[in-house]
Symmetry: C2
Subunit: 430 residues, 2 copies
């Protein structure tokens, strides 16, 4: 008997038929003797409806018509109160469906468990999960159906973790429960060498290390939320990525689930390892360029401090010294969704920072090769750059880590670059 955490995303619980399918997956594990906690997202479409209402309430449309570009400066605490209701509904409905199938179950809201978060509403981080009461319920034979994506802030108000946060909820819960495995059910059946919509020869990986998955996720593979992989690595929670569209009676390896999905685990649990495990790409990044920034000490702090304060994550950073030697051009990338706010923040800090002009662009893509094998294998970057050059693809910026090489390129060449690198690193073979 194991303790499992099962997580189902929005498309997996999109309507009552899909929720019944989820319940069948849960019942299979319960019938196999496992103690189960289930984490659910909102029914697909619900979150968008709720966000639209929030924006209407804050007068986005009226502000736009009045010529004021709407900022996101509404009260995030109210956003959280409204939007978290989506998961509340799903958790109650799944508990009822399970009960109708004679499976003991009850719903748990974030504040009931409680899942504690910090005060960064709308993008909160989990600071702790107190599972005492929940564990007692599970030991009494109840499936714990938990609303994902939410917790409770120190102010006793609901906080959401941001889009995709249900993955993080599931892994944090699995860590707190010392679960044997966290199964993330999604609309794909695992982690692929790259996006199969771009490269037909992409194939599913049986296993991938946390480190690689982390790079895949943060580079835009979109299968698992970054924070959830970080947590899984930190606490050593094995995570199985599998599809909720598979028939509930389709079984993989009893211990690891292999054969039906991808197991995300420690590197030393993976026997055969390619130099490069996967190619990731992201189109949801935007480029910000500050022209002629005064080249004096502390300028980076004056630029990136206000962005951090506004909870805007900065990814790649490139700095060029300009001709006059007294100023530099500073380019960095942020999430596209944060671009307007980044421009606003930097615009209002113009005098403090000191720069000539500020530009934003979204027609860029980031393409990355990822693999723990790079650590022991030299020349991967050189191979990559020359393959891209051969196709006439210009590299605007480069960033690397021990197990990853990323390049920023014109968005129009994203697919070509991904296909080129997938072939280059021997991933077409399957």
């Amino acid at each position: 008997m194991s303790l499992l955490v099962l997580k189902f995303g929005g498309t997996s619980v999109a309507d009552l038929d899909r929720i019944r399918n989820v319940a069948a997956h849960v019942k299979r594990e319960v019938d196999a003797g496992h103690a189960c906690a289930v984490v659910v997202s909102a029914m697909a479409g619900q979150t968008n409806q709720l966000v639209t209402w929030v924006e209407e309430a804050w007068g986005f449309k009226a502000r736009r018509e009045a010529g004021n570009e709407p900022s996101a400066l509404y009260d995030c605490r109210e956003y959280d109160a409204v939007v978290s209701s989506g998961e509340q509904v799903t958790s109650g409905l799944l508990a009822l469906v399970l009960q109708s199938m004679d499976v003991n179950a009850r719903s748990w809201q974030g504040w009931q468990i409680p899942v504690r978060t910090d005060a960064a509403h709308q993008k909160a981080r989990i600071t702790g999960v107190e599972v005492g009461e929940l564990k007692a319920s599970m030991q009494g034979g109840e499936v714990a159906v938990c609303a994902g994506f939410q917790g409770i802030a120190p102010s006793n108000r609901i906080a959401t973790l941001g889009r995709g946060g249900s993955d993080t909820s599931a892994v944090a819960l699995a860590a707190a429960l010392q679960a044997d495995r966290c199964d993330i059910y999604t609309d794909v059946d695992g982690v692929y060498t790259t996006d199969p919509r771009v490269v037909a020869k992409a194939h599913r990986l049986d296993r991938i290390s946390y480190e690689e998955m982390l790079e895949m996720a943060s580079q835009g593979a979109k299968v698992l939320q970054t924070r959830s992989v970080e947590l899984a690595m930190q606490w050593g929670v094995p995570v199985l990525v599998r599809s909720s569209f598979d028939a509930p009676d389709m079984l993989g390896n009893a211990d690891t689930g292999e054969g039906i999905g991808t197991l995300v685990c420690h590197e030393d649990e993976i026997v055969e390892q390619n130099v490069v495990s996967g190619i990731a790409y992201a189109r949801d990044e935007a480029k910000v360029t500050l022209l002629k920034v005064a080249d004096k000490p502390g300028v980076a702090a004056r630029v990136f401090g206000p962005l951090a304060y506004a909870h805007i994550n900065v990814d790649m950073i490139v700095q060029n010294v300009s001709e006059d030697g007294r100023s530099t051009d500073l380019t960095f990338t942020v999430q596209s969704a944060d671009l307007d706010r980044a421009i606003e923040v930097l615009g209002s800090a113009k005098d403090k920072i000191g720069y000539l002009d500020l530009r934003g662009a979204t027609d860029i893509a980031k393409v990355s090769a990822i693999g723990v094998g790079m650590r022991s294998h030299a020349g991967v970057a050189a191979q990559m750059f020359s393959a891209l050059a051969e196709k006439g693809i210009n590299i605007e910026a480069i960033s690397t880590s021990e197990i990853k090489i990323s390049v920023l390129i014109d968005a129009a060449y994203a697919e070509l670059a991904v296909r080129t690198l997938h072939t280059l690193f021997g991933l077409d073979g399957g």
Copy 2:
């Protein structure tokens, strides 16, 4: 400066435009210097959607198709978790709209205030409202936007008060806050002598006593929920019933709101009083008849005990001794919504009670004349019975109180009976 509680029902917050209208009403009171707590229902239609999902989750349709009449025996705690999300959404949205109008505001869920209830999920009663934190927020200048209809049960799970419970939330909050007045905004502009859709000459009452309103509400006037009037009477909270469809700049008497609605208050605050203040009718009752119940001591307890245990309210009770003298026929009324459950409860207790047959019917109506003036005025009942007899309306049961006479009649005659009594007691004049 006063402390006001304003309550807005589902049709008053049906969409963002209507919520903006509600915010205008609130802003008017804030601008006049009043401290305001606002209680909101779910957006019209949302609660029905959520209830439909609950019923689908519990497999109502499949059970019906399998020939099993669906019972309401799903887990009420999950119903509450799902359905309470409706008010959660509205409270957050109204807080945002108020903020967008530069009115300080924040949302409060039932469990945040907290509003404490008993454990009777789906029909919970408020046992206490702890307003310390909420009051501090209001004293800091924030409008408290409270989710109505919900509280928290001793188990730390959300409990709903049943349909219409937001009125009760508002009055309980007003009592706890020692508010100067509780304004119930609804889709009608006050309490009428009877339903204007039935009697064109019906007119709005400026004032009505708690006792009369209680009878009007429980007799089906549907303007205010019974429990809310009981609470208002108990705590001496003046309640103003007015329309949310009135223009927000339409003002009544500054202290009492008179001229734009009906003030529900103590009897001694009403100067001119008719013998009968209003005629109420109810179609949502059902009749249950137990045939040939053994006429022995304790039978009433054996019949009504299990019903009370199942939280089914019984209204009128009539008992006839049958021909043989050893058994009686017992007839009583329940809410139509409870009929199936009442039949089920009594069916399974058949051996314990001892009766020949059990019948249920919903084609009945209850018509009532209500007025505190009856206390000092004899002959009202006799007048009423003869007026109905003149129209050929058969009376199936009668119940009376100090200030009310109710008759149970064939549903087909309901409107005729109401019109007849409205004229009889001089209410047509206006």
